[in-house]
Point group: C2
Amino acid sequence: MPVDARKTISDLQELRALTADDHGAQRIAWTPTWLKARAWFQNKLAKLPVEHHLDAAGNSWTTLPGKSEMTLILGSHLDSVPNGGWLDGALGVLAAFEVLRAVAEDFHGKPPITIRLVDWADEEGARFGRSLFGSSAFAGTHSIQADRGRTDRDGIHLEDALRQCQIDVERIGDAAIERGQAGAYLELHIEQGPVLEGMKLPLGVVLGTKGVERHAITFHGQEAHSGSTPMSVRRDALAAAAKLALEIRPIARKHPDAVATMGSVKTFPGIVTAVVGRCEATLDMRDLDAGVLASMLAEARAASERFAAEEGCTVEWSRIWSIEPIPFNPQLIELCEQSVQEIAGSGHKLPSGPLHDAAEVARAGIPVVMMFTQSLAGLSHNPAENTRIEHLELAVEAFDRLARKTMQWLTCA
Amino acid sequence: MPVDARKTISDLQELRALTADDHGAQRIAWTPTWLKARAWFQNKLAKLPVEHHLDAAGNSWTTLPGKSEMTLILGSHLDSVPNGGWLDGALGVLAAFEVLRAVAEDFHGKPPITIRLVDWADEEGARFGRSLFGSSAFAGTHSIQADRGRTDRDGIHLEDALRQCQIDVERIGDAAIERGQAGAYLELHIEQGPVLEGMKLPLGVVLGTKGVERHAITFHGQEAHSGSTPMSVRRDALAAAAKLALEIRPIARKHPDAVATMGSVKTFPGIVTAVVGRCEATLDMRDLDAGVLASMLAEARAASERFAAEEGCTVEWSRIWSIEPIPFNPQLIELCEQSVQEIAGSGHKLPSGPLHDAAEVARAGIPVVMMFTQSLAGLSHNPAENTRIEHLELAVEAFDRLARKTMQWLTCA
């Protein structure tokens, strides 16, 4: 029996009706609406021959035991950002559910290998600012020490919000036990960018998640009166920052998939009558190749120092956060490409700029691949997030195809 | 008898001791410290054959009647910004006081023309945001309708603060009666910029106050995910603003005294992980020549539209405030130049970027000139504001010389 992609779409619509308001999806992790979404999902499992439990980090595991303990994991996350879209995360969980259902049916409840479905806890980090919470606990990359002090905007501690959901913050590392005999992890997700739409392709094969270098950059010049200070003697911190805002673009454009973004600029004193004495900017650079990323960072830093000198300023850098590029498994990429071609005729291989739970799973040493489906206008984290219904249907079918090929691959391994 | 410039300096030091704290001068208009400064000043007048009163706008007038009603006005302002310097405004009032004292002595209390000293009320506008308050009431350019609703940061209304100082906001226009037979107005001020220091000159002759065009400029692009949006499809509002921040500089540098400043940049959403969808900037352009100012504004506007188009953005302009250039009187400029040369050997003619009460007096049709003395490091509105004592002494002597020449000029007129 093939999967019935229309079922996935009607499940997504049902979930939207249950958990969105006029401003979009409200399934923020560790909140009642998220718990409601999970309870709804658990109800869906009732007719399947599966075992279900939450692990120590709050990840929700549904297991269809196979003849072998070798395990294929399919998953994504039900949590959303506030005012989010209907597809981010939910598509991956509900497509995996339909594949699980179809596999259970095809193999009369006993497939050759074990199939597990995971709904990761708190992928978005929307409430406490710590994304990939559950998957990083699973991967053993999460150190709770750094996150213990986090609070939400009402001052509620992460620790207390977790306790409300029966999670003991001290024990989240125990989620690592779920790795078991995992042989592969597959995740279907919307692209959240405009690349596939620009190429008129419904589906894409994800090569990995880009490494990220995220820095705060401060230029120090000299605050001065805008009326009495001649142009020739100014030390304008904004001018140095403006040069850098423009220069990061050719630095990124040298590489096909690299991006560089100055997302925030703050000026001090920041008044109409004063030359900017201090300018604080942020820089976010990403690429799938660690060498490319390192060279981009070095070029941006050198440029910032040159511009500071040209403007009589100084510049300071401070790393906000970084993560290495995480390439996915070459054999699974190959299987994903075959699946996309068989269902949609052609696909495109691209890196993911946003991070995903799949990246954490890959860091645990488990072979991983992701499949993308087109996002309209590249919008996500937004109630306007959307994908054509016919593309969603192709995505569920191609993801099923990928799961079957991966089961075959793991069985022969 | 020549003026005794050392008296002016000791008066300035006395005033500083009385009205500054560890953070600088605190003579904010319509506050007890300002009233204390004015009371101190009025006490200084006790031994002189002068009449003193406040006008309807709170300007403080001290009159030494002469043989003729033809009047020379000397003045500046005792009010300061919060955490201000010891010279801005106060130098002009106390130098004028010393000139008044010397003239009274020289002419045994009866000079050939009438000499008046004015301490303008609220030049800085520090508490209610309306600068040149008293001098614009005098000039008849002040419309109270626009200012009636102003409040200070504690929510106190301008109207109520004025009433505390015995000023009826409805009657401030009556200050125009003080114009009387004014034949000239002279004001000594620190430069508040680095030009004279850069030329190693103690004194300067002010050609007028620059016109100002002050605008809010908003670039609208498209907010997008910093990780998933390729460089080629971005519509980055910050990039358009950065280009403009750099382009206003060559636009201003075409003209010897023109300045252009982008003092504030705000980015929206302004987060490290999003391409800037909206960027709000301010632009302040100044020149003494109205034609130059208009052409600079036109060039900046055209550049902003070009940059918006290049970046797939749109741009909106909104005027915050503007004032035309106010050139000073050519004959008084000539007398000022002679005075500076006689006392200091050489001087420099320059426009004033900051506005001054003198600009309002000129708008009333009274011949005006200002003299500048060097500011160290161009600093003002700051407790570090300073001028070398020997330069202050030269300034008081040259200002006395200018007053004597102007008396002669008015007597012969």
